[in-house]
């Protein structure tokens, strides 16, 4: 807890309410609010079945990606480690697409997030193996490019092979992500793994703090390094996998949010974890409001807005850390 936490909670509540109030069905604030609680009439259905899941999912996506980004960056001691950039989201998309197209997703309730989680797990393992325990920037980014390229190629292939003519058009959704027209079903499918993943990552605060002093120091402080690594891998795969399975791959959230918040909460990984979870929720909800305001009737992808904000920052970070890349 620190000074910025109440402010972040306030922003989160405001952006959540904002997300509930903005949509194609024009209704006043008061009407929308009472319809949300009563569920009466068509406006009630719009509020409860369309807007509420969208806002809840936006928050879940933001918390998952913000938390995962902060945890990966703390563990690898590298500000460029982000689930989207290093290919974890892309791999989760692939897992979801394969499971949907083969019909595996329809077999049981959690089949879809399980598949995304499995693919995300493989990606995290590949990244950590390729980048090594110290996670040098160059190897990390190169490993990320390789994993992302492979995942997006295989996602496109799976969608192109689908007997459904609409599937091919959805490559963009799986690569850029969107929260449009999701329902409570999607919330329930993603929520269990999100909660597990969040709890696992949140438990790493002390270990990540110790790790910032170096691995030897952390080990001497009684931190079990291999256990930390395992919890991190599963936690990131679960939370990123679950949200990607229902909303597609949304990049840059885990990059931008910790980067901004580091200025307010300092570099201590444990405080950054909580702040990034809240900040991620705010960021995604605001971006999703922007999506609806910029193109009210079109389906502008959330990932497009995030990339427009995030890519310049990414370039800036690369510029700043280029000494370390050489």
């Amino acid at each position: 807890m620190n000074k910025i936490t109440p402010l972040l909670i306030l922003f989160l509540v405001m952006s959540f309410v904002g997300s509930l109030m903005i949509g194609q069905a024009n209704a006043s604030f008061g009407d929308s609010l009472s319809a949300l609680f009563s569920g009466d009439g068509p406006l009630g259905r719009v509020m409860q079945d369309i807007r509420l899941p969208r806002a809840v999912l936006g928050m879940m996506v933001g918390v998952s990606l913000g938390l995962s980004g902060a945890a990966m960056q703390g563990y690898l001691r590298n500000p460029l480690a982000e689930p989207g950039i290093i290919g974890i989201s892309g791999a989760a998309s692939l897992g979801a697409v394969v499971s949907l197209q083969t019909g595996f997703a329809a077999l049981f309730w959690l089949a879809l997030p399980v598949s995304a989680l499995g693919a995300a797990l493989v990606a995290v393992l590949m990244i950590l193996t390729l980048a090594g325990p110290r996670g040098g920037s160059l190897t990390l980014i190169l490993a990320g490019i390789a994993v992302s390229a492979l995942a997006s190629a295989l996602t496109s292939l799976a969608l192109n092979l689908s007997p459904n003519p609409y599937a091919t058009y959805e490559i963009v959704f799986w690569m850029m992500g969107s929260l449009a027209d999701r329902s409570m079903d999607h919330v329930w499918v993603a929520l269990p793994f999100c909660l597990i993943g969040w709890a696992m990552i949140a438990s790493l605060g002390r270990a990540l703090n110790a790790l910032s002093l170096g691995e030897d120091t952390a080990a001497s402080m009684g931190i079990n390094l291999s256990r930390t690594r395992l919890v991190l891998i599963i936690g990131v795969a679960a939370s990123v996998g679950a949200v990607t399975a229902v909303s597609g791959a949304i990049g840059f959230v885990g990059l931008i949010v910790p980067h901004i918040l580091r200025n307010f909460v300092g570099a201590r990984p444990s405080s950054l974890l909580y702040a990034s979870a809240l900040g991620g929720g705010v960021m995604v909800l605001i971006a999703d409001i922007a999506v609806r305001l910029i193109l009210p009737n079109g389906d502008l992808k959330l990932g497009v807005v995030m990339a427009l904000i995030g890519a310049p920052l990414f370039l800036h970070l690369i510029y700043k850390t280029r000494g370390g890349l050489e």
Binding site: R51, N164, E170, S183, D299
Partner: protein, 272 residues
Amino acid sequence: MRPSKVISFTLALILGASMVQAQGPRVVSMNLCTDQLVMMLADPDQIVSLSPMASDAHSSAMIEMARSFDQNSGSAEEIYLSKPDVIVAGLYTEKASVHMLQSLGLQVEIFDPAESFDTVRANILRVAQVIGHPERGVAMVADFDARLAQMKSGIFQRPRAILYHANGYTSGAQSLSGEILTAAGYDNVALELGLTWGGTVPLERLVMIEPDVVITGRPFPGHSRGEEILRHPALAPLKMSAHTDARWVCGTPLVLDAIQDLQREHPDKRSQ
């Protein structure tokens, strides 16, 4: 020569000529919809080959009949070598193949996709003309108009309906689906939304406008997010009616069967 001989000789000539006439030009079709019109209007031995779509169960309304004919792959080379007298194609048939066949000196007749019943009538008459049986076209149009008039009669209430397809696409009145809907005795909600031709209706807007009937497309195999919208819980309280199917795709008299199916749900026609 004896007069009787002259008569029988002349008769043989006329008969011979009419035998040739009955055979008519040999035709290749390169488009799903011309496939069906050709099958309805031409003699079977006139049909050299149909388009590859003719046996596609999702789009073609006449797959059973199409089985008894050859299908081409759509390539100019293959069609040229099958030596047809005339080729019928759609406006959006692969341009390169069509140009190639034209430059090889073949007669290619290009048909507009039917966006109204007027185009349906015009296409029927023209296909009949091209295959050398204009009288069959005239008869088919007369029959079409008679059945259509009968279906349109006796409608007093007009429930508000919307055609809702994958990704929230709806067809306006200026489309074949729109005409089918209107002829079946429904008001097209797309007009209330200002969509004359068609366009996208966001889910929220659809829920708010509360149509009496929602008519969706038949789902394709495999998963797509675009079709997931049709099973969204917010649509559950709306009355989801018949699916559109292959009979809605092409401008042929089969659209009358589609109208008849729609009318099973219509309050003024249900009892009949």
